[in-house]
C-alpha cells in the first residue's frame, strides 16, 4: 500500500503568519499590476466591440494587417497571433467603434472582412470566428456576471450557515472570498482575458474552494466531538488538517490532472479557463488549510462557545443522509467516538 502523508503531525496553524504574509504579498502584487496597467483585460462580450479570428493561407505580416485596417478606418485594433502562425485575432473596440455598433453590431466586422479581402485577395484568408457585441449587451453581460458572483457567494454562505455552526460558515466564506481575490490577482498578473468562460471558472472555483474547506471543517466538527480535555482548538484543527491531508493531496492531484489536460490539449479558446481552474484548485487547497483554519481559530477566540453550546450546536450531526445512502444512521455516532 502506497501512502502519502500518513499519520503526519504537521503544525499547520502555527505558521499562519507566514501564510497570511504570502497571500497578502500575492494580492498586493496583483493590485500593483492593476495599478500599473490600469484596467482588467475584459473580453469582447463584456466591453462590446468586434472580435474576428482570421485564418490566412500563409503567415501574414502583422504590419500589413494593421495598416490595412487603419486605412479602412478601423484604428487602434488589437491584432494578436492565435495559436498557429497563420491564425490571428483582431479586436476592434475603440470607444468610437463600440459606439458605432449601437446602430447594428455587425457593421465593423463587415468592414474588416472587406478590407482584408481586398488587401490579401479573396481566398488567401477566411474568417473562422466572429463575435460582435453592441455596447448595451456588453454592459448587461457585465452586470449579469457580477450579479452571478454575488448570488453564488450568498447562497454558499446560507448553505454553510445551515449545515454548520455559523462560526464555521463565516470562516469558510471568508476563505472562499480570499480565494477569489487571489485568483483575481493571478488573472491580472497573467493578463488573462476575462471572458464569460473565465467567469464560469471563477464561479466553479467558488464551489470548489468551499468544498475543500468543508471537508476539513467536517473533520474538525467530528474531532471536536472526541476532543480530549484540555486540547486546544488549534490542536484539534491541526489534527483535522493532518487527517485529511492525504485526501487533499490526492484530490488535488486528480483535479489538477484534469485541468492540466485542458490547459495543454484543449486548445486556445479554453486556455484562460484552464489557467484559472489550475491555479484556483491549488489556491483552494492552500486556503482551506492556511486561511480557513486560522480564521476559524480567530472567530472561536472572539466568540467562544458556551459549554452547553459546545455539546449542542457545534456537535450537531450533519443532518439526514440523502435518500440513496444506506440507512443505518445515528448508531455510528457513538461508534465513531470510539
Amino acid at each position: 500500500m502506497i501512502r502519502i502523508f500518513h499519520n503526519s503531525k504537521y503544525e499547520f496553524v502555527r505558521h499562519w503568519r507566514l501564510a497570511a504574509g504570502l497571500t497578502a504579498a500575492f494580492i498586493a502584487a496583483g493590485l500593483v499590476t492593476f495599478a500599473i496597467t490600469g484596467s482588467v483585460n475584459y473580453s469582447i462580450e463584456f466591453t462590446g466591440g468586434t472580435l474576428m479570428q482570421v485564418e490566412f493561407k500563409q503567415a501574414p505580416d502583422v504590419g500589413v494587417i494593421r495598416s490595412t485596417l487603419d486605412k479602412a478606418g478601423i484604428t487602434g485594433a488589437e491584432i494578436q497571433q492565435f495559436g498557429t502562425p497563420t491564425e490571428y485575432t483582431i479586436r476592434a473596440r475603440d470607444e468610437k467603434q463600440v459606439e458605432a455598433q449601437a446602430a447594428g453590431a455587425e457593421g465593423i466586422s463587415k468592414q474588416i472582412e472587406t478590407a482584408l479581402n481586398s488587401q490579401f485577395g479573396a481566398g488567401a484568408m477566411r474568417v473562422v470566428r466572429t463575435e460582435a457585441v453592441g455596447p448595451k449587451v456588453g454592459a448587461e453581460l457585465r452586470q449579469g456576471a457580477f450579479l452571478a458572483m454575488i448570488i453564488t457567494s450568498i447562497l454558499t454562505m446560507i448553505y454553510l450557515g445551515i449545515r454548520f455552526d455559523w462560526r464555521f460558515g463565516l470562516a469558510a466564506v471568508l476563505s472562499t472570498a480570499h480565494d477569489i481575490l487571489v485568483t483575481f490577482a493571478f488573472i491580472k498578473m497573467m493578463n488573462l482575458e476575462v471572458s464569460l468562460t473565465v467567469v464560469a471558472a471563477i464561479l466553479t472555483l467558488l464551489g470548489y474552494s468551499a468544498n475543500d474547506t468543508i471537508i476539513i471543517f467536517d473533520r474538525v466538527r467530528e474531532d471536536l466531538r472526541k476532543r480530549t480535555k484540555g486540547e486546544s482548538m488549534a490542536a484539534v484543527l491541526d489534527r483535522a488538517i493532518n487527517e485529511t491531508l492525504p485526501r487533499s493531496v490526492m484530490t488535488h492531484a486528480t483535479t489538477l490532472a484534469a485541468t492540466l489536460a485542458l490547459l495543454f490539449f484543449a486548445g486556445e479558446v479554453i486556455r484562460p479557463f484552464a489557467w484559472v481552474m489550475a491555479f484556483g484548485v491549488f489556491v483552494a487547497t492552500f486556503s482551506s488549510i492556511y486561511v480557513a483554519g486560522p480564521l476559524l481559530l480567530y472567530i472561536e477566540s472572539k466568540f467562544p462557545r458556551a459549554a452547553s453550546e459546545a455539546a449542542g450546536r457545534a456537535m450537531r450531526d450533519p443532518g439526514t443522509p440523502p435518500a440513496t445512502a444506506p440507512t443505518k444512521p445515528r448508531a455510528n455516532e457513538r461508534a465513531g467516538a470510539r
Partner: protein, 554 residues
Amino acid sequence: MANLKYRVLLIVGLLAASAWTLFPRTVIERVKRDGVFVYDTVKRVPLKRGLDLQGGMHLTLEVDESKQAVADKSEALDRALKVVRQRIDEFGVAEPVVQKVGDERLIVELPGIDDAARAQDVVQKSAFLEFQITDKTQALEKSVARFDEIARAAGITTGDKLGGDTIRKTGVTSLLTQKTDSTATDSAKAAGATGTDTTTKAPAQTGGLFASNVQPGQLPGMYIIPETAYSAFERAFALQAIQDAMPPGKVVRWGVDSLVNGTQRFRAFYMLDSRPIITGEVLTDARPSTDPVEGNVVQFTLNNEGARRFKVETGKHVRDNMAIVLDQRVVTAPVLNSAIGRNGQITLGGGSLQAAQDLALVLRAGALPVPLKVAEVRSIGASLGQDSINKGAVALVISLLLIVTIMIGYYRFAGMLAVGGLALFLIYTLAMLAGFQAVLTLPGLAGFVLSIGIAVDANVLIFERIREELDHGKSVRLSIDEGFKHAMSAIVDTSATTILSGMVLYQYGTGPVRGFAVTLIAGLVASLFTAIFVSKTFFLLWMNRSRGAQTLSI
C-alpha cells in the same frame, strides 16, 4: 442479500436506460445535399452540439428605434418573429432556433451556416416594397435655393471645405450650362428658371450644398451627387426644415448602390411621389428568374385587389418612370411602357442570381413589421468547431488516462473499483445530457473534464476514510461501512455547494456558459450517485465473493 440484488438491478437498469438514450438512432433531419436542403433520415448519437462545436451563427436582434419609436415592442417582436422564422425556413437551415427573449430581443441560431453575411441579410432585411412614380415636375430644381438656405443655416456645407471652387464649377456649370446630355436639358432649363424666379439667387450662386453638387441623372427625378458629399446630403435630408420644405406630395429616396464613372464615385437619389401605387403587402408570390436581356430578375405576382390597383395606376402613368423602392432605397426605376396587371418583375441590374433568390425569398415571407438591428453576432466556422471537438476529445482522453493511472497506482484494487465507477459515471452523465436535450458546448466539454476530477474526489474521500478505519484495527467489513458513512456528509456538502454555483451559472449565463453549467450539474449528480451508491455496491459485491477477507487492497 436481497438488498444487494436490488442494488445491482438498479445500476444495471440505469445503465441499460443510459445505453438506450445514447444509442445512435435514426432521426429525420434537414440536411444539405449538393447545395439543396432535403429531409433525410440520419443515424447519429442523440447529443446536440452547440454552435461553438458544430459551427454556425448566433444573432441577437433588437427593435431599431433610431428612426421611429415603436409603441408596443413586445407585440411587434412577436410579429417579426413569425416573419423571421418563415424566412429562415425558406432559406434552409438544419435546426434553426428563433426565440423571443424577454420583451426586447429575438435570438436566432443558425447551425452550420457557412455564409454568415448572407444569412444575416436575409434575417434582417425589412423587405418593405413600394412602387412610386418618379417626379417629372422639376420639384427639386425649384427647391434648390430654399434647400441651400436651410442647409447653410444648419451649417452643412461640404463644398467649401473640399476646395469648393472646383466642385462648385463642375456642379453649377453642369446644372446650368451642360446641354450635350439630352436628358439634362430640361433640368438645366429648370435650374436656370430657379435662378431667375427666386429672390435668394445670391446664396445659390456662392455654392450652396445643393447647387454645387447636384447633377441630374439619366431619367426624370433622378439626381447624382459625388460620393464625397453623401454624408452631408444624408444629414441635410434628415433635417426637419428640409422635410418641411419638401414640395408637397414628394419624397427623396436614395438609390441602392454608389455609381462609378472612371475614377469618381457617385450616389444617386430620386425625387418620388410620396404616395406609393402599391406596396409589398399585395404581393402573393415572388420568384427569381434570369432574363436574357435584363439579367437576373425577380418576378412577382399580385393579389386581385393589388392587380386591379396596379393596372389602373400604371395605366395613368404610361411613359413615366416607376421606382421600385425596397426598404426606402430605389432598386430600379424602369419606364412604364404600358399598364401592368397581375405580374411584374424587378430588374436587379448587375445583381447575382443569389441576390435575386434572396430578394424573392424575403418578399415572399413579407416585410418585417419593425426594423431590427443586430445587438450581438457570434459566428463560428464549421472547421473551427470540429477542431474544438477534436482537441476537447484529446484533453478528455488524456485526463482520463492520468486519473485512471493515479487511482489504480495508488489505491490498487479499490482504485480499479473506482475506475469501474468512473466508467459508469461517464455513461450516466452523457445519458443525462442526451435525455435533457442539453447542448454540448466547448465550455461544456471543459465542465465535463472537470466533473471527472470532482467525481474522483468522492472516491478519494471514501478510500482515505476506509484506510483510517483499517488503521484503527477494525475489520475490513466494518471499515468499509464506516468509511462510506463518515465520508457521506462531506461528499453531500461539497456537491451541494458546487451544484449551487452551477445553478446560478445556468440562470445568468448565456449559450456556451449554460452548456458548462448543465454538464457540471449533470456530472455532479452522476458523481454523487456513482460514488455513494455504485462504489458501495461494488464493495458489497466484493465482500460477498470473498467472505471473511482479512485484507483489502486499498
